[in-house]
C-alpha cells in the first residue's frame, strides 16, 4: 500500500508488526461490504436477506472493535466497558422499536411501514 518500513533499528524491542494482519482484514471487510450490496438486489426471501445483512454488519463491527481497536490484546475491562454502552444502547433501541411498533402506538394516518414488525 505505502512505504511502511518495518526496519526500526530497535526491532528486537518491539513485538511483530501487525501490518499484514490489518491489511488482510481490510480486504475482507471490503469484500463483505460488496457482498452486502449485491445481496440486496438478489431475489431472496426478505427474512433471509435481513438476517444475513445483520450478521454481516455485526461481523464487520466486531472485527473493527476487536482488531483495529485492539480490544483483543487489551485488558478485558476495556471490552466490558464498551459492551455496557453497546448493550444498553441496543436494548433501549429494541425497546423503543417495540413500543412504537405496537398496535396501540400506530398513528391514525400512515402507509404500510417498512419490514420489522
Amino acid at each position: 500500500m505505502s512505504a511502511h518500513a518495518a526496519t526500526a533499528p530497535a526491532a528486537g524491542h518491539h513485538e511483530p508488526s501487525k501490518f499484514h494482519y490489518f491489511v488482510a482484514l481490510a480486504m475482507v471487510l471490503a469484500v463483505v461490504t460488496g457482498v452486502e450490496v449485491v445481496l440486496v438486489y438478489l431475489p431472496l426471501a426478505k427474512w433471509f436477506v435481513v438476517s444475513t445483512l445483520c450478521i454481516l454488519s455485526a461481523f464487520k463491527f466486531l472485527c473493527v472493535i476487536f482488531i483495529f481497536m485492539h480490544l483483543r490484546w487489551d485488558k478485558v475491562f476495556c471490552t466490558i466497558l464498551f459492551f455496557i454502552g453497546l448493550v444498553l444502547a441496543g436494548g433501549t433501541m429494541w425497546a423503543l422499536l417495540h413500543l412504537f411498533g405496537a398496535d396501540a402506538a400506530k398513528p391514525l394516518s400512515s402507509v404500510a411501514g417498512v419490514l420489522l414488525f
Binding site: G85, G91, T92, L99, A102, A104, A105
Partner: protein
C-alpha cells in the same frame, strides 16, 4: 472569609512557590497563584473545585427554595391572586430544574470532588484540567437557565419571555415554536445541553479516577461505599445523558430549522419526546439518590461504631439499582396509551427495582442493630433519611401498579412521592453529609444544639408540607395548577402544607446560618473528630494541597480504622513511602491552567448567541446585526481556540518536597 481561607493550609498559604517558565507551545506561563481570584479561577485542585461546586449549589438550593415558597404562598388559599399564572408556570418549571440540576446534582458533584481522591488515596483526579472545565461549563449552564429571569426586570431583555415555563421535563409540543414562541425554551434547551456536557465530562473523569488511581492494596471490594456509589452514578450519567442530549437537539431543530421530530403535521410524534426524555429522566433520579445512599453508608457505621452490615450486597444492590433503572422509564407514561404489554412490562420492572432498594435498607438497619448509637447531628439526618426514604418508596411502589397510577398520575400524590424521596431522601442525606464532612474541610465543628434544632425544624416542616399532599392527590388535586376553587375539599390540606413549607424554610435557613457561623467561630478540630473509618480522616483538617504526605497502602476495608489499630506497621510503611517518593523527584502535582476557563467563556458566548440564532442583535433599541449567528461563531471559535491551546499546553506539573514538620517547598523542571 477570603483571609480565613488564605491563611489556612488549604490553599497552600505557607508553601514557597516556584515560578513557572514558558515551555514550548505555551502562549503564557502556567498560573501559579494559590490564592486570590486568579488562584480560584485557574485552579485544578479537586478540593477547591469541590468547594466552588458546593458554594454555587447551596446558593441555587436557597433560590429553588424561594421559588417553592412563592408557589406555596400562591396555593395557601383558594382563588388566590398572589402571582400571575404565567409567573407560576415559570416558578414551578424553575423550581424543579433548579433543585435537580443546580442544587442536588452539583452538591453531589461537590462531594465527588472533595472526597473521591481522598477516599482512594490519590492526590487529585485523573484529568485535573478537565475537572476545572466541568465546573465552569456547569456555571455557563446555570447562567443560561436563569438569564430569563432578567426579562422581568429589564425591558431590553423582554424578548426572552421570562424564565423557562414549560415544566422541568419540557413536553412536546408545548416546547414547539407554535406554543412557546419566545426565547425561554431555547435558553432552557441549551442550558440543559451544557449542563449535560459538564456532567458527562466530570463523570468520565471520575470513572477513570476511581478505577485507575487507587492506592496500593485498595481493591474494588475495599472501596468505601460512597466511592462505589459515585462510580455507579458516573456510569449512569455518561449512559443516560446522551438520550436527553439527542432529544434536546431534536427540539432545537424543530424550533429553529423546521424539522418535524415532534411536529404532527409533518409526520412527527410528540410521544417520542416523552420516551427519550424519560430514558434519561429515570436514571437521573437514581443519579440523584445513589450518592446520598453512599453518604448514609459512611455515616451510619461511624455513629454505630460498627462496620457496614453486608458490604458486598450493599455495593451489588447499588449497581443493580443503577442498571435496572435503565429499564423502567415508561412508568412515567402509564397513562399515555402504550398498550397492555408495554405497560405491564414496565410495571413489573419498576416493582423489581424495589428489591435491591429494600435490601439496602435492611443492611442499614443491620448496621445499626447491636451498635453503640451516637445521636450526633449527621446521624439524626441519616436516620431521618432511612425512614423518610422508605415512605417515599411506599408511595413509589403504589405508583408501580399501573392501574393505581392511572388515578395518581399528574396529581399531588406524585409530588408527595418524589419530595419524600428527594427531600426526605437525597436532601436529608446531603445535609447529613455537609455536617459530617464540614470539620474535615474547614477544620471547625458545628455546634450540636443548633444543628439538632435545625434538624427538628426541617424534619417537622418537611413532613407537615408533604404528608398532606398524599391525600390532596388522592382527592383529585392536579399538579401544576395555579389556583383551585374553594369547594374542592382541598383548602385545609393546602393551608397546612404551606405553613409546613414556611417552617421548612425556617429550618433550612437555621441550618445554613449555623454553618456560616461555624465557619468563622466553630470550635477547631483535628483530623478525626468523629473517630471515623475512611482515609480522608487520616489527613489534617483542612487537608493540605497535596492531600497525603505519603500515599497509604491499604490493608482492609475501612482503611483508616485499620491504620488506627495497627499504628506501628503503618508508621513504618509511611516513612518508606515518603522516602521512595522523594527519591523519584518529590510529590508530583498538576499545574493550574487558564484554558478550561477560556474554553468555557467561548462556550458561554457561543451558546448564548446560538439560542438566539434567528433573532437580530439589538443594542439600545437599534438593530446592529440581522442575526446572532456571527457572534455564535465567534464564541465557538474561542472555545475551539481554548481547547487547541489546552491540548498543546500539556499536563505540565511541579514537585513538592516535604520536610519532617510537613512544610513543603516547590521545585520545577527535572523530569516528570
Amino acid at each position: 472569609m477570603a483571609q480565613a481561607i488564605a491563611k489556612s493550609d488549604y490553599s497552600g498559604g505557607t508553601t514557597k512557590h516556584a515560578p513557572a517558565v514558558k515551555q514550548t507551545f505555551e502562549v503564557f506561563t502556567r498560573p501559579t497563584a494559590k490564592t486570590g481570584l486568579v488562584g480560584w479561577l485557574t485552579t485544578v485542585d479537586h478540593k477547591k473545585i469541590g468547594m466552588m461546586y458546593g458554594g454555587f449549589a447551596i446558593m441555587f438550593f436557597l433560590i429553588g427554595g424561594l421559588e417553592a415558597l412563592l408557589i406555596r404562598t400562591q396555593l395557601i388559599v383558594p382563588n388566590n391572586r398572589f402571582i400571575s399564572a404565567q409567573l407560576y408556570n415559570e416558578l414551578f418549571t424553575m423550581h424543579g430544574t433548579t433543585m435537580i440540576f443546580l442544587a442536588v446534582m452539583p452538591l453531589n458533584a461537590a462531594f465527588f470532588n472533595l472526597l473521591i481522591p481522598l477516599q482512594i488515596g490519590a492526590r487529585d483526579v485523573a484529568f485535573p484540567r478537565l475537572n476545572t472545565f466541568s465546573l465552569w461549563a456547569w456555571v455557563v449552564g446555570a447562567f443560561m437557565l436563569n438569564v430569563g429571569w432578567l426579562s422581568h426586570f429589564v425591558p431590553a431583555w423582554s424578548g426572552f419571555g421570562g424564565a423557562p415555563d414549560v415544566g422541568w421535563f419540557g413536553y412536546a409540543p408545548l416546547t414547539s415554536k407554535v406554543f412557546t414562541p419566545d426565547l425561554s425554551t431555547d435558553m432552557w434547551v441549551l442550558g440543559l445541553q451544557i449542563l449535560g456536557l459538564s456532567s458527562i465530562v466530570a463523570s468520565l473523569n471520575f470513572i477513570v479516577t476511581i478505577i485507575n488511581m487507587r492506592a496500593p492494596g485498595l481493591t474494588m471490594m475495599r472501596l468505601p461505599v460512597f466511592t462505589w456509589m459515585a462510580l455507579v452514578t458516573s456510569f449512569l450519567l455518561v449512559l443516560a445523558l446522551p438520550a436527553i442530549a439527542i432529544a434536546l437537539v431534536e427540539v432545537m431543530f424543530d424550533r429553529n430549522f423546521g424539522t418535524n421530530f415532534f411536529e404532527v403535521s409533518g409526520g412527527g410524534q410528540p410521544i417520542l419526546w416523552q420516551h427519550l426524555f424519560w430514558v434519561f429522566g429515570h436514571p437521573e433520579v437514581y443519579i440523584l439518590i445513589l450518592p446520598p445512599m453512599g453518604y448514609v453508608s459512611e455515616i451510619l457505621p461511624t455513629f454505630s461504631r460498627k462496620p457496614l452490615f453486608g458490604y458486598p450486597i450493599v455495593v451489588f444492590s447499588g449497581v443493580a439499582i443503577g442498571f435496572i433503572g435503565f429499564g423502567v422509564w415508561s412508568h412515567h407514561m402509564f397513562t399515555t396509551g402504550m398498550g397492555t404489554i408495554a405497560t405491564a412490562a414496565f410495571s413489573l420492572a419498576t416493582m423489581a427495582i424495589a428489591v435491591p432498594t429494600g435490601v439496602k435498607i435492611f443492611n442499614w438497619i443491620g448496621t445499626l442493630w447491636g451498635g453503640r448509637i451516637m445521636t450526633r447531628v449527621p446521624m439524626m439526618f441519616a436516620l431521618g433519611f432511612i425512614w423518610m426514604f422508605m415512605l417515599g418508596g411506599f408511595s413509589g411502589i403504589m405508583h408501580s401498579a399501573a392501574p393505581a397510577d392511572a388515578q395518581q398520575q399528574d396529581s399531588y400524590f406524585v409530588i408527595a412521592h418524589f419530595h419524600y424521596v428527594l427531600i426526605g431522601g437525597a436532601t436529608f442525606a446531603l445535609l447529613a453529609a455537609i455536617h459530617f464532612w464540614f470539620p474535615k474541610f474547614f477544620g471547625r465543628m458545628v455546634p450540636e444544639f443548633w444543628g439538632k434544632l435545625s434538624f427538628w425544624l426541617i424534619f417537622i416542616g418537611f413532613n407537615c408540607t408533604f404528608f398532606p399532599m398524599h391525600f390532596l392527590g388522592l382527592n383529585g388535586m392536579p399538579r401544576r395548577t395555579w389556583t383551585y376553587d374553594a369547594n374542592m375539599g382541598w383548602n385545609e390540606g393546602n393551608l397546612f402544607a404551606t405553613c409546613g413549607a414556611y417552617l421548612l424554610g425556617v429550618g433550612i435557613f437555621t441550618y445554613f446560618a449555623v454553618l456560616v457561623w461555624s465557619f468563622f467561630k466553630g470550635q477547631k478540630c483535628g483530623n478525626d473528630p468523629w473517630d471515623a473509618r475512611t482515609l480522608e480522616w487520616s489527613i489534617p483538617s483542612p487537608p493540605p494541597e497535596y492531600n497525603f504526605a505519603a500515599i497509604p497502602t491499604v490493608h482492609a476495608r475501612d482503611p483508616w480504622w485499620y491504620e488506627k489499630h495497627h499504628k506501628e506497621e503503618i508508621a513504618k510503611e509511611r516513612a518508606e513511602h515518603m522516602k521512595a517518593e522523594e527519591s523519584h523527584g518529590g510529590i508530583h502535582m498538576p499545574d493550574q491552567s487558564w484554558y478550561p476557563l477560556i474554553s468555557c467563556t467561548g462556550l458561554l458566548i457561543g451558546a448564548y448567541n446560538f439560542a438566539q440564532l434567528k433573532h437580530p442583535v439589538m443594542m439600545f433599541g437599534k438593530e446592529v446585526l440581522s442575526s446572532h449567528f456571527p457572534l455564535a461563531v465567534a464564541g465557538g471559535a474561542i472555545l475551539v481556540l481554548g481547547c487547541y491551546l489546552w491540548s498543546l499546553e500539556g499536563p505540565g506539573g511541579y514537585h513538592l518536597h516535604l520536610d519532617e514538620k510537613g512544610n513543603a517547598t516547590e521545585s520545577r523542571g527535572g523530569h516528570h
